[in-house]
Amino acid sequence: MNKKHIYFLAAFLTVLSIGLFAYKAEVLGFPVRPQQQTEIWNIEAAVRFRPGPAAVKATLRIPSLTPGFSLLDENFISRGFGVTTSSSPAGREAQWSAREASGTQTMYYRAIVYRDPMRLAEDTTPPFPTPPELDEPSRVALEALIAEARRQSADVASFTIQLLRRINQGDQDPYVRVFLKHGESQADRAQLATIFLAGAQIPARVAHGVFLRSAPGAVQPESILEVHDGVQWLYFNPRTLQQGLPPDFFIWWRGEYPIAEVDGGHDLDVTLAVQGNLMPAMVVAERRAEAAGSHAVDFSLFALPIATQAVYSVLLMIPVGALVIVVLRNFVGVKTFGTFMPVLIALAFRETRLVWGIMLFAIIVSLGLLIRFYLEKLRLLLVPRLTCVLTVVVLLMVAVSVLSQKLGLQPGLSLALFPIVIIAMTIERMSIVWEERGASEAIQEGVGSLIVAALAYVVMGINWLEHLVFVFPELLLLVIVATLLAGRYTGYRLLELHRFKGVLPEVPR
């Protein structure tokens, strides 16, 4: 029962840990690798006009429903104008207004956009459109056109393509000719298609957007026809008849409205520009989670001040180092001074680097031992003696630091982070083991501690692991799982295989 309990707990924690990890990595896009970058685009609309003598109001349609992309951030820049945003039939719009203004005015709308495959056109199924109001000849032509297109098609998609093909034939099509007063541009063709589709009781609308390129520069808006087949929106390029939303097409606004309008001004000119960029994945993930209202970021370490974050990035690695100790002690059987002393030494090595760390540690401990043996002769009481050793350790560290500065050896300076209390205790413990059990046992345990510390240092120094544990602290639950399982490991330790070989009748070669 006991064992089952542990396995159940281990399984539960594993599922919890991996589940949280997967949610953060897959859904919120937290970076699994350090320095991972996400592709983003800066989009910009510059609205220019000359204001009239009275109050002026400029309206710009801004992105709202953007299948395949999400907005990370947006801002509005203008001088002397008040700005409001509101929703409109075309999506959202921003309105700049001022009582008076003189000279050419420019306002900017800027936004950061990233690719988000989870984002679909999530608006509700539209109502059936009202049939267009037409004069008698147009109505007859429309009905004939719909009847013919319907005959040659199987579903909404092929019906739409039939209609678009006829629109593209223009004058040559007897029915379409009637409607051609509407114009020749891509937007006009799409608009015409929505009228025809409305006649056939199929909801449709025109979407305008830009192709997101990585090279910076101005872009022209292009139009695309959105048709609802009762289940989802279908996309058609009105000129090429290609079905589907091009992967780089970013829908900016919808409907037959222009992108911008100005009231009380003239010479309106709108330029759109796009620039591709890379951003640290973590920043994108953070803002995305914020925008999605997820609390994963509120409660993540990124909510802490930077200095505190730095502390935790180290602290979070301690369990990993301790796990190394578990393996080395319970599976290999290495003897160390104190259970977790090597982890603290390994932390100190982070500053000094490995080789210097080992050298400095060996120097300090051996000098400390010499002093300790001398103190033994003075017969000091235990606590004053420990304090004395501690003070000597601090002085030794100062001496080594100053000396290495004079010699121009940089690493000697980082010594200050050595855990002095731990070192003092190590010296005390080592000297007792030395006297009670002999030098070989003391040195053996000392070297064992150093080897374990070095290994813990190497493991704790794996950049990728550090990043992973910091961004996904829930992975530490896996450390708990490992300790639960290791805690029930009752097999031999590696060194016991050697230790007990004398028990075997004869050692086979």
Binding site: L381, R488, R493, G502, V503
Partner: protein, 322 residues
């Protein structure tokens, strides 16, 4: 879980108990944490044993505070020979054996002379916890110096050899005698270099010895053969060991017994985490015997029956089970 490569397989077949298994399957299961103080504090062990009418080295006095250090000459006035033992010392750490006086100075068993000041320094360190696990405050026991029985004289270099018996839920399951050597400084601790020699539970005769992990047939200092020595009062020793279970309620203990020339077997100390080297000394694993006990023993039987069971089942070498 079990590793399945070569050596591990062989050790498992021999029923060798590893540290992980000892801790996980025996100590954690059968030794209640609340009872540890009974054995970790040698003074309490001694008092318990006296209450249960089990023989221990007589207690002369206890030094509990720095103030008491002054009382030492008073305590040992009538005892030229005595032993100072920190109550929480582990593995024989901090034990000082005074074999006599030389003027105002005390002579240790190894011949070193200590003046009153040195002894006071030692006592003060011990009280401050230098020898206890975790450095907790400690007390020092002043007790009778065992005059060890001549049986092992030929097999010891100074110091006092002792018999270690592993007792599983009241059943003695394995025994060895620990013989001090010159390297061990007269101490009967295997990791300090003492020789361990297995004892056949059935007959009480010694087997070959081990030094470290090496099997040896002769004592390194006295060069006498180790095997075949009959341990006197073997029945009494087993009886004492078996009754230590009732004393502590601990299911997996090591009982250390010393043979005194005049007083016979005396309990030195009990250990709730007895080492595994006894397996090397006996050249046999503990697991097989533990399993025989678990399968066939009646854990409610009185001590005499348990000893009889042990002598019957654990005649060297034990086969079957495991």
């Amino acid at each position: 879980m079990r590793l399945s490569f070569g050596r591990a397989r062989q050790l498992a077949d021999e029923g060798v108990l590893g540290l992980n298994k000892r801790n996980g399957d025996y100590i954690l299961r059968f030794n209640a944490r609340s009872r540890y103080p009974l054995v970790d504090d040698k003074l309490r062990t001694k008092q318990l044993a006296l209450a249960a009418n089990l023989a221990v080295p007589p207690l002369y006095g206890v030094i509990r505070t720095h103030h008491d250090i002054r009382l030492l000459p008073e305590i040992v006035r009538d005892h030229p020979q005595f032993v100072l033992k920190p109550a929480h010392g582990s593995g024989g750490d901090g034990i000082v054996v005074i074999a006599g006086r030389s003027g105002s100075r005390y002579r240790t068993i190894s011949g070193a002379l200590l003046d009153a000041g040195e002894l006071a320094h030692y006592l003060s360190n011990a009280i401050n916890g230098q020898f206890s696990l975790g450095g907790i405050q400690d007390v020092v026991i002043v007790e009778y110096m065992v005059k060890f029985s001549p049986v092992f004289e030929s097999l010891s270099y100074q110091g006092v050899p002792d018999v270690r018996i592993i007792v599983f839920r009241g059943y003695p399951i394995m025994a060895m005698v620990r013989l001090p050597t010159r390297i061990s400084g007269g101490k009967a601790n295997l990791h300090q270099g003492a020789v361990g020699a297995g004892i056949d539970l059935s007959s009480g005769r010694t087997l070959d010895g081990v030094l470290g992990t090496e099997v040896i047939t002769h004592h390194p200092d006295t060069t006498n053969p180790i095997a075949g020595v009959r341990v006197p009062a073997w029945d009494t020793i087993l009886d004492i060991a078996a009754r230590c279970y009732e004393l502590t309620g601990l299911g997996y203990i090591g009982v250390d017994i010393v043979l005194d020339r005049d007083r016979g077997p005396l309990i030195l100390e009990l250990n709730a985490r007895p080492g595994l080297a006894i397996q090397i000394a006996n050249r046999q694993g503990l697991l097989r015997r533990l399993q025989i006990c678990e399968q066939r023993a009646d854990f409610d039987a009185p001590a005499a029956e348990r000893v009889a069971f042990a002598r019957r089942e654990f005649a060297h070498p034990v086969r079957g089970a495991a």
